[in-house]
């Protein structure tokens, strides 16, 4: 589904990603862990197409296509979803309106008919349950005045609405209390099928108690320095990032 080869990317001429290689197949869950500043969020942003970062080398193939040639919204309509670490507020634009534009613009790009108003509202109702999102939140402006937990739930709600093939969740667990973490993680699990894949970016092992990864990658200084099964996360939790650093440096 996704193949990243020797990906290098920089911001303001500072190289952040220094040669990433990664392959993700349908049905898989990959966890990417690593210390602050190792390039985790940059990788997520580059996959989504954020032009703030310049890709200087390497290639990304997604569903057989050269991903780097596609605009941000094209990538989205082809099933790439980014769960934001810091979801953005859009004052005055209701969640309903926002989601309706998103769903129908994606459908338009794919050459599908827009959803009727009633079909859309029905879909909203169903998906809200997945993350136990309070009904009234969808009538409020996008992320405006949402608590930290509500914002993250809202990201997963949007993921549920858009049914992506490849979801990249950037520190979706940060800022969540234990109950919210469970709800969000359960939501993500419910959305999992054998055809879609998830990349979970996190600092902490605790999220992986709920979302069991097939692979754990450790990103350090712009490179994936270690890949193993879910047990790697536990080992990392126990030994800390210094353990990785001491192995590399």
């Amino acid at each position: 589904m996704l193949k990243i080869k020797n990906l290098k990317a920089s911001i303001n001429n500072k190289e952040i990603l220094k040669g990433i290689n990664l392959e993700v197949k349908p049905g898989e869950v990959h966890a990417i862990m690593g210390p602050n500043g190792s390039g985790k969020s940059t990788l997520a942003a580059v996959l989504a197409g954020n032009e703030v970062f310049e890709v200087t080398e390497g290639e990304i193939t997604y569903l057989g296509e050269d991903l780097l040639n596609l605009s941000v919204e094209k990538r989205a309509s082809k099933g790439i979803f980014l769960g934001f670490q810091y979801p953005i507020e859009i004052p005055g634009v209701s969640m309903v309106n926002f989601m309706k534009s998103a769903v129908n613009e994606q459908r338009k790009t794919r050459g599908e008919e827009p959803l009727t108003a009633s079909a859309f509202l029905k879909l909203m109702r169903e998906k809200k349950e997945i993350v136990e999102l309070e009904a009234k939140l969808t009538n409020r402006s996008v992320n405006e005045g949402f608590s930290g937990g509500e914002k993250k739930k809202n990201e997963i709600f949007q993921m549920a609405m858009l049914e992506p093939k490849l979801a990249i969740l950037d520190e979706t667990d940060s800022g969540l209390d234990i109950d919210a973490l469970r709800i969000v993680a359960n939501g993500i699990n419910k959305l999992k099928t054998k055809d879609n894949a998830t990349i979970v970016i996190t600092h902490y092992q605790r999220l992986l108690d709920y979302i069991v990864p097939d692979f754990v990658h450790i990103l350090y200084n712009g490179r994936i320095v270690k890949t193993a099964g879910k047990e790697l996360a536990l080992e990392l939790e126990e030994k800390g990032y210094d353990w990785i650093k001491s192995q590399i440096d």
Partner: protein, 481 residues
Amino acid sequence: MKENEDKILDEVTNSDYKYGFVTDVDNDDIGKGLNEDVVRIISSKKNEPEWLLDYRLKAFRHWKEMEFKNWAHLDIPEINYQDIIYYSAPKPTKVLDSMDDVDPELRKTFEKLGIPLDEQKMLSGVAVDAVIDSVSVKTTFKENLAERGIIFCSFSEAVRDYPDLVKKYLGSVVPYTDNFFAALNSAVFSDGSFCYIPKGVRSPMELSTYFRINAANTGQFERTLIVADDDSFVSYLEGCTAPQRDENQLHAAIVEIIVNKGAEVKYSTVQNWYPGNKEGLGGIFNFVTKRGIIGESGKLSWSQVETGSAITWKYPSCILKGDNAIAEFYSVAVTNNYQQADTGTKMIHIGKNTSSTIISKGISAGKSDNSYRGLVKVLKGAENARNFSQCDSLLLGDKCGAHTYPYIEVDNNTAVVEHEATTSKIGEDQIFYCNQRGIPTEEAIGLIVNGYAKDVLSKLPMEFAVEAQKLLQISLEGSVG
């Protein structure tokens, strides 16, 4: 990807003003220049009574003594008032069967603008007075409205058919001494709309005037007078467009509204005069004086969506004269490229328990400048006056300007005056967020801007609101990238 985006934005900015065509009709004009004779010619072309000519001449003499003072945050090039044609009327291309018939060319023009003049084809809820250059060409649904005693006609007809009403109210809210452009308008005004709603009558449909500048080198000086008698109600709409030309054209209008005891008037404008090209060449200079006076327990509500004109100088105002009068001003002003706008309102509280609300949303893009200028004045006798003002500015890009000039003068210590102001930018992160959800940049800007202006757009009549939403998006296309 960046290149691609630029290309799309280019295409859109090159084609954004879709009302820029010219209608090919011969015009009966009086040539360039302004002097007393010109004022007399205009008056005689309209067969006006002596008192109106006198009014014009007084205004003209006053204007001649005036000097234009530019206190606004606007860079206004010097206007040569002798280089303007003050009266220009389209000549019919064929002999018309009746007075009410419209030249087919002009009919086509209005159809192209989305304003069909056949009553059968029109939106059933809206009556239209169509004004092109210096004359009104057609007023629809006049008969239906007359059944309820509502007078809705061109200003010239009103002078002919209802001279007493016109004489009583003309200049009663905006005297010709008011300001430079008000004096000029009072001397040379050509046509516009007149509307009278009798006591206790609710207008069954929206009344509207559509202003179109067509002829070159011509100024448009229209005059609108609305009188809502006791306990009546009317919702009034105004739309404007002009051809795309390299020269600037002057539009200096006056709108006067009289809201009697217990009456309510809603006045909505979608101003889409030609804004000039991307380099700032051409466009309309829009210098407009709009004011209403509100009697006891009356209500006047101005809503405006200003997207056009090279320069906008406009402050629709309210005099809250009667006790318990209510006034509202809702404004969205968009400037792009080299447009300049200095717009806002004046709320003059005279009566007791009067309340006013100001919601202003400025949106600046390109290299434009956008200012809010407002005055809230509470006079000595205005016990318990209330005002709430909210003035927000939204910036797209970093080459544009937004300014807020709120003036508050309070002479009564029971008054409560609140003012809130914010300035924000459409962030790249907001656009990226929308893009990531599959919403392309153009639509994202539309969504964000409409969200920002929601409080104002929701005050517009339904069909106007839809048009305004699209207009906002079109006006700003190409502004981010």
